[in-house]
Symmetry: C2
Subunit: 141 residues, 2 copies
Amino acid sequence: MNVGRSMPNLAITPAEFSITDLCKEFETTTRTVRHYEDIGLISPSRRGQTRVYSPADRTRLRLILRGKRLGLSLEDSRQIIDMYEPGKTNIEQLNSLIGAIRQQRAKLDQQLDDINNLLKDLNKAETDCLKALNSNGQTDL
Amino acid sequence: MNVGRSMPNLAITPAEFSITDLCKEFETTTRTVRHYEDIGLISPSRRGQTRVYSPADRTRLRLILRGKRLGLSLEDSRQIIDMYEPGKTNIEQLNSLIGAIRQQRAKLDQQLDDINNLLKDLNKAETDCLKALNSNGQTDL
DNA sequence: GATGCATATTACGTTTACGTCAACGTAAGA
DNA sequence: TCTTACGTTGACGTAAACGTAATATGCATC
C-alpha cells in the first residue's frame, strides 16, 4: 500500500494530523474536508491559521465518509455522530434519540436486504456472461 | 397495507400500470418517474399521449429505486440494469461487463462491512441511551 | 356544460456536495 | 533569494436529482 512515505518511522497512531494526511489516508480532497468544517461537521484546532486534526477529528471524518459510502446525506451523518455523544441530554432527548437510532437501523436493514438481492442479480449476470463467453463467438440471437 | 382501494378485485399482477399506480406502489412522485424517462431509464408505451407502463417497466423502476436506497447514482443503476440484458454483445463487451459487475460487487462488499459496523455503533448508542434512562434523572455528569 | 380529476408538457428553481479558480501566506531546501 | 510545497480564505461554478409552478388536454360525473 505505501500510503505515506514522508512519515517518520512510527507504527503508533500520531497525536495529530494535517489536512493532507487525512486526505491521503481516506482518499478524499482538502476541499471536501474543509467543506465538512464549513457546515460544522468537524472542528479542528488551529496552529496559527493552519488546521490541526486530533484523532477524534479523524474518527469523525471516518464516520462521515463511511456514511457517504452508504448513501447517507451529511445531515444524516451529523445526526448519527451526535448519537455517540450522550452529552447533556434529558429524558425527552434520550427517547427521541432512541427513536432516531431505530429509524436508522430500519433503514440499514432495508439496505442489507437490497444489497443481498443486488448481489444475487450480479451473480446471475456474471454467470450469464461467462456462459456467453464459453459458447464462443455466437454473438447473434 | 391497503395500497390501492380503487383497484378491481384482482390478486394477479396487472398487465399494465398508470404512472400514479407505480408512484403509489413505490412511494415516489410522478415527477421522479417522468425524470427517469427523460434520461432514458424507462420507456413506457403510450395510449394517446398517456404513459402506459408494462410489468417490465415496473421492474426497471423497482431496480432504480433499489439502487437509490443503496446510494447509487442513476447512471450506476443504468449500468446495472443494462447488465441484465446480454443483448448483442461481443466478447470485448462481455469482458468489460464482467469487470463492471465485479466492481459493483466490491462496492457492495464494502457497504456490507460499513453497515455491520454502523449497526454495531447504533447498538452501543442505544444501550447507552437505555442505561442513561434507567439511571433515572441523573442528567448531569 | 361546468366541475373535478388525472394526465401531459415546458421551464425555471432548488438542494446537496463539493469542484475550481484566484490570490495570498509561510516554512523548508537548493 | 528563489523555488517548491503545503497551507489559507473567498467566491463563483457545477452536476445530479428532482421540486414547483403554470398551462393545457381528455374523460367522467353531477
